[in-house]
Structure formats: structure tokens, C-alpha cells
């Protein structure tokens, strides 16, 4: 009985696909340049898909020479699910936002509010203009309000 060679491509492709998906969450989300359009992840996923495809071709078209007829399709299927999940998140899930039709528009008066700061002190929008900037006597020319999701 002839010995067939190990077929490492499906495994390399599988690992690349897993890295391609997970690296967004532990690495690439940190910088706007890799977060807004996750090109780095897509590159890794494309490389992974390339390895998987050539690994599967080896396993099936040259099956006397290479192993991988069982592992290849399984790894390929898991990778496909991972890529699908990632695309679902990037192209659909994170775009599901409320319309915010009533949000103030340019030229509108900014709605007043009073909230608590990290020292449990009450701070109103008006007081944000009245308070001098730290380390100066000057009042700010403008205030940037940045609403964010928080530690949800």
C-alpha cells in the first residue's frame, strides 16, 4: 500500500480563517484604519480561503498523492461558517442602528442636560461653557459632545 503525503494546506487555511476572524476583536478593532474597513482581516481570510481551496484540490484531484479527504471538507465548512459570521457582523449587524430622526441638526439649539461626572458632580451643558478650560482662565469656544455605547 502506498503512503500518501500529509496535506497541511487545509489546516493552514483553517488556522488563517480563525485568526482572520478573531484578530479583529483582539487587535484590529483598536485602530480606525483597520476597524472602519477591516481590510487586514479580509486579507488574512483571503489567504486562508486560498490555502483551503488548494488543499481541497490536492485532497480530491490528487487523492493518490495527498490525504485530507475527510479533514479538508470539515475544516473548509467550519472556515466558511467563520467567514460568514464575520461578514454578517461587518456588513449587516453593526449597521443596525436606530434612525435618530429627532437628533438635533446643524443650526438647532443643543438640548440642555444635567448629568453627573466621574466625581459625582452635576454638570449641565451650560456649565460646560461657563467652566474655564483646565489650566487656563479661558472659556471654551465650543463643546464636543461624544455619545458612545459604554461598557455594554
Amino acid at each position: 500500500m502506498e503512503r500518501r503525503k500529509r496535506n497541511s494546506y487545509p489546516w493552514i487555511g483553517f488556522v488563517l480563517c480563525l485568526i482572520g476572524v478573531t484578530s479583529y476583536f483582539f487587535l484590529f478593532y483598536r485602530w480606525p484604519i483597520t476597524r472602519d474597513v477591516p481590510w487586514a482581516n479580509f486579507l488574512i481570510l483571503a489567504a486562508g480561503a486560498g490555502f483551503l481551496i488548494s488543499g481541497l484540490r490536492r485532497a480530491f484531484a490528487r487523492s493518490q498523492e495527498f490525504k485530507g479527504k475527510i479533514a479538508g471538507p470539515i475544516l473548509g465548512a467550519i472556515s466558511l461558517v467563520a467567514i460568514g459570521f464575520f461578514c454578517f457582523l461587518i456588513f449587516y449587524a453593526t449597521k443596525q442602528l436606530p434612525k435618530s430622526a429627532g437628533a438635533p441638526k446643524v443650526g438647532d439649539k443643543a438640548p440642555e442636560f444635567t448629568l453627573t461626572d466621574t466625581n459625582n458632580k452635576e454638570v449641565s451643558l451650560a456649565s460646560l461653557f461657563a467652566m474655564p478650560l483646565p489650566g487656563t482662565q479661558k472659556q471654551p469656544k465650543g463643546v464636543f459632545l461624544v455619545f458612545y455605547r459604554g461598557y455594554w
Partner: protein, 93 residues
């Protein structure tokens, strides 16, 4: 120019975040989403325990209390960048 961050986080959570990340600008807590509702930014049930959070949004308010710039993102991964803020701030003079 003054920068203020607003979320549903408690003052303690925001204090922790400032300490960890080294942020020096103001963080305001809106656990009841009062201001978030007033600006129509509530994203209901999207918090980790199904609590309400704010959708990301940025506003520039001038010293007359008038909105001068609005950025409502269409994807919560995509936020306003510092360059955009600075460009808008320069126009306020």
C-alpha cells in the same frame, strides 16, 4: 475646545475607564438615558444585558449653544476621527 463623553455607564465605571485608558477629558454618566433620549440617540435593548445604550454620535456645539456639526454614523464600528474634530474646531474661530 472642550470634549465631553456621554454614555449610560455609571460615574464609577467611567472613572475606571479614564484611569485605565488615561483619558483626561470629561466623562458624564447618563444611566437613565435622559440626555441620550433628548438627542434621540437611544439604542434600546442593545446593551450587554439587554439594557439601553446610546448609539455612537458626535456633536459640536458653539458657545451660543447652537449645533455646528453632527456626525451620526451608519455603522457603530465607524466613529468620527480626531482629524474631523480638529477640522471642525478650527472653523469655530
Amino acid at each position: 475646545m472642550r470634549t465631553v463623553a456621554i454614555s449610560v455607564d455609571t460615574p464609577e465605571e467611567s472613572r475606571e475607564l479614564c484611569k485605565k485608558a488615561g483619558y483626561t477629558f470629561l466623562f458624564l454618566s447618563d444611566p437613565g438615558a435622559k440626555a441620550i433620549r433628548a438627542y434621540d440617540l437611544l439604542h434600546a435593548g442593545q446593551g450587554v444585558n439587554g439594557n439601553d445604550v446610546a448609539r455612537p454620535a458626535e456633536f459640536l456645539v458653539d458657545s451660543n449653544g447652537v449645533i455646528r456639526w453632527v456626525n451620526l454614523t451608519e455603522d457603530f464600528r465607524v466613529r468620527a476621527r480626531a482629524e474631523q474634530f480638529l477640522a471642525q474646531a478650527r472653523q469655530l474661530k
